[in-house]
């Protein structure tokens, strides 16, 4: 087990270094001159050169890379060439909002995806199953950003059921900072007004972000449940008189969850990418929105930082998925 962790840890480090090289190369080999863009259209040649010096863009590439990596080891992601902010300061500000949204969405997708999958398998060929199947097929094909816009139009603009965007109403102050997750913080401090407001704000973006994941988890869990429910050991349990509910919820589900877990891991990664879209649509102050804002201006430091941070997050999530196999299936050994 120890060896396994060590191996995984090393592989994460190697992959991260590889990722940083790729992202760095992409940013530097690019044709557009970031210094020129940052200096603005009316800038003179000297002004561009000053910016180049300031951000050390005239150093040879390997030197630039090494100094970038040195910074990374200290948690220094460099400065945005456009806003001149320290990128890590910005990230610290925006990251909690993204994680609050992503955690809420993945929890939603897992809970309801598994539930719909079970219901669809147990009530096979009834209207529940048909509904779940139509949903699971269309869910992955819906453009997330478009779904968001349509729901904004319908639920926010037309019927005023939910707020159109943002993390809180402008008139409401954020809760006392503990975890930086508004939902958690307001819950801990018992601030119900903020909690309700935050919940109403997160609902739509989280629903949209979880939509494709929900669809594919439903789909795979249905297929797996159907297969497991026809296995001999289930027949044996039925013969022993174990209640159907217990068989489904415990014995069948546990076996069906292994492929479902693979899908959850895969979809988590998609979700991290999807934050770019959902945060843009719902004006959610997270790092996806931040990355888009920077990418449009070829302001590369923030984009690199977000790519590396979300990449790392995805790698850690994959590690958890692999550990999850062991929990679900005692035959799995970590070596």
């Amino acid at each position: 087990m120890k060896r396994y962790f060590l191996k995984r840890f090393l592989s994460i480090i190697i992959t991260l270094i590889g990722l940083s090289v790729i992202v760095f190369m992409v940013s530097r080999v690019a044709p557009g001159d970031p210094a020129k863009l940052a200096a603005g259209p009316d800038a003179t040649e000297e002004m561009v050169q000053i910016i180049q010096k300031e951000f050390r863009l005239d150093d040879p590439l390997p030197v630039q890379y090494i100094s970038y990596m040195r910074g990374l080891l200290r948690g220094d992601f460099g400065r945005s060439i456009r806003t001149r902010h320290q990128v890590q300061e910005d990230i610290r500000l925006f990251l909690p909002a993204t994680f609050e949204l992503v955690f809420f969405s993945i929890a939603f997708a897992i809970a309801f995806g598994i539930l719909f999958g079970i219901l669809s398998a147990v009530y096979k060929d009834t209207w529940i199953d048909h509904g779940a199947r139509v949903f699971s097929v269309t869910g992955v094909a819906v453009p997330m950003f478009w779904l968001g816009i349509m729901l904004q139009l319908l639920l926010a603009a037309k019927f005023h059921l939910l707020p159109i965007g943002g993390r809180l109403d402008t008139m409401i102050l954020p809760p006392t900072t503990i975890t930086r997750f508004f939902l958690m913080d307001s819950l801990i401090t018992g601030n119900w007004v903020v909690f309700k407001n935050a919940l109403s704000h997160i609902f739509l973006p989280a629903f949209v972000l979880s939509f494709p994941a929900l669809a594919s988890i439903t789909r795979i869990n249905r297929a797996e449940m159907l297969e497991v429910l026809h296995k001999d050991f289930i027949l044996n349990e039925r013969a022993q008189g174990i209640s159907e509910r217990l068989i489904i919820a415990k014995y069948a589900l546990k076996n069906a969850l292994i492929p479902t877990l693979t899908m959850i891991g895969l979809r988590y990664g998609w979700m991290l990418g999807g934050t770019i879209l959902v945060e843009t649509v719902f004006d959610w102050p997270g790092i996806g929105n931040y990355a888009v804002g920077a990418a449009v201006y070829s302001d590369f430091q923030p984009v690199m930082a977000v790519t590396i941070i979300l990449g790392l997050n995805f790698m850690i999530a994959n590690l958890f998925v692999d550990l999850g196999y062991g929990v679900l299936d005692p035959r799995v050994r970590y070596e």
């Binding site: 094909a141 478009w146 999807g274 449009v296 070829s298 790519t307």
Partner: protein, 300 residues
């Protein structure tokens, strides 16, 4: 004429088993309603992309025509999908958008396959350190959410439809490496490969003559599913403003513009979105159907 007939007859005899196999595929697919729906959507998509210019009523609107007197007209018989902020016919633009989406999808998939398939076969067949190095590089690309990496690449190259396609191709190939490498690993041990080796076939011949043809089913399935996904990703980039730029009638970019006028002019964002949904759904269903027929054991 006679010789053509005889060639045709000979071809039919020579390819009898393949023709039978193909007929079986067609038959099995036609028994599944979802596959039929998927196939029809894809067919309609291709037909519209092909004959688009005949179907549209306002060809000048596809590029940057401006008719301010016609702006923000709701759907009517003149403009079935309404008009946009400068009076362009949205129907004409959505129809011509199929062509752009088709180009985007095909290009991304071909480039991704062109890189991914050879790399995957070479890694899987040669094994050893070659495999290790190639798969490590692949893993790095797969370690970061695709859309994010594509955003990073377009961010560096600058916004635009060509750069978006390039970025998505760079993001897409690792999926094929994984697929083909896994398949090659299992094929490498098959007896027909051993037989080929024993009669002295070259590595090149074994790889491209024996292993590659046996990888085609999973590649075709993945390509069909990826076509939809690639179109969706290109629309995603168009929407956040780093993909196709207006006035190019790309669906994602159209929705992005339509979003600014959403509250009073719902049609601007709605119809391009439906077009994406139907197209992606079509390719997904077709891919599902193909998988059920060609590769019944696999599930994901």
């Amino acid at each position: 004429m006679n010789s053509i007939n005889s060639i045709w007859a000979r071809w039919r005899v020579e390819r009898k088993s393949q023709i039978r196999g193909f007929k079986l595929i067609v038959y099995t697919m036609s028994r599944s309603p979802l596959s039929v729906i998927g196939f029809s959507f894809v067919l309609i998509f291709f037909v519209i992309a092909l004959i688009g210019p005949i179907l549209i009523t306002y060809p000048q609107d596809v590029r940057g025509a401006v008719h301010m007197d016609q702006k923000f007209k709701p759907p009517s018989s003149l403009h079935p999908f309404g008009t946009d902020e400068v009076g362009r016919d949205i129907y004409s633009r959505v129809i011509m958008g199929t062509r752009i989406s088709l180009q985007i999808g095909l290009l991304i998939i071909f480039v991704a396959m062109g890189i991914g398939v050879p790399v995957g076969i070479i890694a899987g067949y040669l094994g050893g350190w070659v495999n290790e190095v190639l798969m490590r590089i692949t893993d790095i690309f797969l370690s970061v959410p695709g859309l994010l990496l594509a955003l990073a690449i377009v961010g560096a190259l600058g916004p635009g439809i060509k750069n978006a396609m390039l970025a998505l191709s760079i993001v897409w190939w690792p999926g094929y490496v994984r697929l083909v490498q896994g398949k090659t690993l299992s094929l490498r041990e098959e007896s027909f490969v051993e037989a080929a080796k024993s009669i002295g076939a070259s590595k090149f011949r074994i790889i491209f003559g024996h292993i590659l043809p046996n990888c085609t089913s999973p590649i075709i399935i993945k390509a069909s599913m990826d076509m939809g996904m690639a179109i969706l990703f290109a629309a995603n980039l168009g929407f956040i403003g780093v993909g196709a730029q207006p006035p190019i009638p790309e669906w994602g970019a159209m929705i992005s513009t339509g979003r600014n006028y959403l509250m009073n002019h719902w049609w601007m964002a709605t119809f391009p979105g439906l077009a994406i949904l139907i197209t992606v759904l079509g390719f997904n269903l077709l891919g599902d159907g193909l998988r059920d027929v060609l590769d019944p054991q696999s599930r994901i």
